[in-house]
Amino acid sequence: MATNQHPYFVLLLLIVVAVAFAIGPLAAAWAWARFFSPNKPGKDKNSTYECGLESKGDAWIQFRSEYYLYAIIFLVFDVETIFLLPFAVSFTQLSVGAFAAMIVFLLLLVEGLVWAWRKGFLTWK
């Protein structure tokens, strides 16, 4: 290779080769499909699922909005568990203020539970 060329010429060459390397196989595949292999779509071929069974119903099903209550009740217990474990672990080293704060927090959550209970949401309908 000549030494008097631009120092970035090799880089340009590399880019050209890289692009050709990426596009070449795709173009070859396209040309092959165009000239030899005809496109044959069909009902089964275009279907979404690949398990062999036909899908039943619609994927766009709707949930009842009342279910948010169960999500909230789940959250009450979930958050409670997360905070109760460190509370129990460090129970003996806690100050009175921290203990009181934790009890207030628990009572708030219990209040939510009592509210849900009185509303009758804990009974599965």
Partner: protein, 203 residues
């Protein structure tokens, strides 16, 4: 066509001259990707064939694909019940062409030992075109490897153009086969007359 003397002279220098058809078939024959699809005990032999002792990878056919969209070959390995038959046909329909089918074992060929069963399909060839059938109950992994080699020979002999070109190169031939319906007493229709002809019994 290049003449044979020049071709062999070039080959001695490490230059292989071949036509597009040969290159295409060679590439496809050595990268047959089967579908991960086992129905019964033959599937155990199919698994054994793909493992280290029998090493199906030597024939380029070890890449078992879990999706029909990526597979070239369906190995019907085992008893096809009538409830399963529509699923088998549908999965075969979902495979992109070119696609091939090996009927592995007595059950896939004819129903085998369960042929008299009320719920057993008497051969997958009633609904799908079978490329290679392997007898045996179950066939040994060597038999499956032999079937793959037979399939490779079949692929290598295929033409790119002309009236006898394979199904996937012919736009007039549909790529899907009618899926039977699991009816009240039997599959409907009981066979696909386009691919299956009842055997003639001469007495």
């Amino acid at each position: 066509m290049i003449d044979e003397v020049l071709k062999s002279d070039l080959q001695k220098q490490g230059i292989h001259v071949l036509c597009l058809e040969t290159a295409y078939n060679w590439g496809r024959a050595n990268s047959v990707w089967p579908l991960t699809f086992g129905l019964a005990c033959c599937a155990i032999e199919m698994m054994a064939a793909s493992m280290a002792r029998f090493d199906l990878a030597r024939f380029g056919a070890e890449v078992f694909r879990p999706s029909p969209r990526q597979a070239d070959l369906m190995i019907v390995a085992g008893t096809v019940t009538k409830k399963m038959a529509p699923l088998v046909v549908r999965l075969y329909n979902q495979m992109p062409e070119p696609k091939y089918l090996i009927a592995m074992g007595a059950c896939a060929i004819s129903g085998g030992p369960f042929k008299q069963g009320y719920n057993v399909l008497k051969g997958i060839d009633r609904y799908l075109p079978v490329d290679v059938s392997i007898p045996g109950c179950p066939p040994r992994p060597e038999a499956l490897i032999h079937a793959i080699m037979m399939l490779q020979e079949k692929i290598l002999a295929q033409k790119l153009t002309g009236p006898d070109r394979p199904r996937h190169l012919n736009a007039a031939v549909p790529s899907e086969f009618p899926v039977p319906v699991y009816g009240a007493s039997d599959l409907e229709p009981p066979n696909n007359p386009a691919v299956w002809h009842p055997p003639l019994i001469k007495r």
